[in-house]
Every structure is written in structure tokens, then in C-alpha cells.
Symmetry: C2
Subunit: 213 residues, 2 copies
């Protein structure tokens, strides 16, 4: 697949670029958070926030009052997600690197007002972080719904960049006797910690139990 | 401590903001990567990259040819690091959240040309990812040094934002019988994978061994 625009074209190490929606979607779905870049009078910001994908749309939510929400409607943004998969230890300092999977999505987000789309997006955001949690939790009430701004960004201008595999040392460094390889990294879940005010006899729900196995 | 500028003031949930350099430095040092936000004619970008801190300076490196390096010299940037510490499962969908520690550093980076500062920064970047690795690896040669652009951003306009602890459910949701709590998350290292072309009899070096214990 070809990139859809100049800015979504991977230029550094283009062999690491990918434009297939399958690759892009899998990374967007796995990454817990994104960083949303936007411009202001004071310069650019990159703010970490939770995202969720539904088909061809990326949803972001926040308070109406937030700088993030006030600065992004009708403006160009860049949403970047990055998953670190490992540390690449090379023989040379220069060839040290990370194995990673990242996606950048560019465009102008729209505000979502439609109640049905909003509810579906809120469900997607909740389930993005804890799959299946939407069906267990108390749904948003009117006040919560009114207080939340929801942005939708079409996944049209997007690219993935992926590094995998061993270090790429230079031929002349092979006999230096220096160890080289990859240290795999992954986000692991620990044992769930019940809220201090959790009532007696409330068992771990299926959505949370899934993290412990 | 007070924020040093308007843009580095945490506005949403200001009780989560911190401006102490100790807090800021600890988060910058622990976070493996940052996202660098900058502006271009085509809109903003947020690009994941490796950073390292030395005292009051944040260093970023890249190829001279990269969009990131060409778009940031003499321009306003925002460097954001985010560490996710846990998933906050509340009784209500609305109060779901993440526990996290993030830092934003704003400013105009300068190019580092001084050979001594460059070497110290390259050492810091290598050791940021694998503490102690600089002393084991082959140092940069002239070609590698010449091919690498190094940026320095003074840590002056910076803020941290931290969420910890249990969910903050509303009083009226306490008796819904829904489980609430935190799922701790942390980046774990797996067993190091030697490079396929690693010579026989080269043991794991101390720097890499530290990840396995």
C-alpha cells in the first residue's frame, strides 16, 4: 500500500514504514495511550490521552475546558501511538536502538454530537482500556455526557513505523567480542488492587480477571 | 514550587500538577522514550524518540536529514514523556482512568557542536536506555559522530502531572455492587535474545544482566 500524503510518508529508514490498515489498526488497538500533538499561540503541545478506534475513526475525549480540546477542533493534529517491544543492544553505541511499533494519524478532527455515535465511542474508549468493561460499569449519565467533548479523527492519512529483530552492527564490529542482542520489553499487569472502599463480597469481574491470567 | 510559564501550568485537574525538579527529573530519567512535538507547514507532528537528561539539559539526537531534526532547531518544541502505572477501574464508565506520571518540557532547542558536550550526551543517551552500556560498547567514530545531529533543550519550562491511587467514584455509585480498583502495569524485561551472529563464548555483560534480575 502507498502512503496517502507527503506528511504520512515515512522518510527516515523508509523500509520500516507500513501503510496497510491491518498493521495500523493492530498497533492503534494495542497501544494503551496516544500522544496528541496540536499547535497553539505558545507553540506545539504533545499531550498523552486515551484513544479508541471504531472501524475507520479514532476517538479522543476530554473536558470541554481543556487546552487539548479547545486547541484541536477544526485544526490540524497528529495522533501518535508507540509500543516499545525491546531494547536493541548493539556492539557499537551508535547502533543501539529500540524495537517498537508506532502509528501516526494526521488530520482535522470533528466534534461528535450525535448521541448514538457518542455512546458507541464512549463504549469503545472504555473497552479499549479494559476489554468488556463497558457492560459491567455504570453508563454515563446526562451530566457526565454533557461535560465530555468527543473528537473523531478519520484514519485516512496514517502510517506505521516498525522496527523488529536483532541489532544491525557494522561488519567491522563483529569481532570486537562485545555482546549484542535484544532485551524484550512488554507491559505486564500485576495483581488487581481493590478500592479501599470496595464493599464485601464483590468478586473480580471477568474484564479485570482477564488481566491476571 | 510554582510553574515557570503559562504553558507549563497544569490546568486540567491542577491538583495533579508538580513543578519540583526532583519529581520532573525522576520521571524523565525513568521514561524510556519521549514524544517530541513540533510544527511544520503541514501541521504538527509528535515523533517518538529516545531522550536523556544530564543535569538541567534534555538531549535528543537524530539524523541530520530527518524531518524531526530539520523542523526543530530554533523553533518551539514540546517534549512529553509518559509512564503508565496502572488502569483505574471505577464503578462508573466516566471515572475510568489511568494512573500515570508524565512530564512536559517546553522551549527552543539548540544544536550541540562542542565535541565534549556531544560525547557526554551520547554517553547519557546510551546509558539512559541501558545503564552502564556506554563503557561496554564501541564508541562513535568520526563518521557516526558527523552523521548525528544533537539537540539540547534546557529544562526550564517544565511540569509534571501525576495520577496515583484508587478510583474516584461518586458517592451515589458506592452501592452498585460493581468491582472497583486498580490494575498495576509496569514494563517488564524478558530474557535477553543474543544476536544470531553473536560469536561463541561471549557472556551477557553486566549492563544487560541487570535487566534479568
Amino acid at each position: 500500500m502507498q502512503p496517502s500524503s507527503e506528511r504520512s510518508t515515512v522518510r527516515r529508514l523508509p523500509e520500516r514504514g507500513a501503510y496497510d490498515r491491518d498493521v495500523i489498526d493492530q498497533i492503534l488497538d494495542e497501544a494503551l495511550i496516544c500522544h496528541l500533538a496540536f499547535e497553539t499561540d505558545q507553540g506545539p503541545f504533545a499531550i498523552p490521552t486515551i484513544h479508541a478506534r471504531l472501524d475507520d475513526v479514532l476517538y479522543l475525549h476530554g473536558s470541554h475546558a481543556s487546552r487539548m480540546m479547545r486547541s484541536t477542533v477544526g485544526e490540524q493534529v497528529c495522533v501518535t501511538v508507540t509500543i516499545v517491544d525491546g531494547i536493541v543492544a548493539a556492539r557499537s553505541a551508535f547502533h543501539h536502538s529500540l524495537n517498537y511499533r508506532s502509528v501516526m494519524v494526521f488530520g482535522v478532527p470533528r466534534i461528535v454530537d450525535d448521541p448514538e455515535e457518542r455512546l458507541a465511542a464512549f463504549a469503545a474508549i472504555t473497552n479499549h482500556v479494559i476489554p468488556g468493561r463497558w457492560d459491567e460499569a455504570r453508563r454515563p449519565n446526562e451530566k457526565e455526557d454533557k461535560g465530555t467533548k468527543l473528537l473523531a479523527l478519520d484514519i485516512v492519512e496514517a502510517s506505521a513505523k516498525v522496527r523488529t529483530g536483532p541489532p544491525g552492527d557494522d561488519a567491522e564490529d563483529m569481532n570486537l567480542g562485545i555482546w549484542a542482542g535484544v532485551i524484550p520489553l512488554a507491559l505486564h499487569a500485576g495483581d488487581p488492587i481493590p478500592a479501599p472502599d470496595l464493599g464485601d463480597g464483590i468478586p473480580l469481574p471477568p474484564s479485570v480477571r482477564r488481566f491476571t491470567t
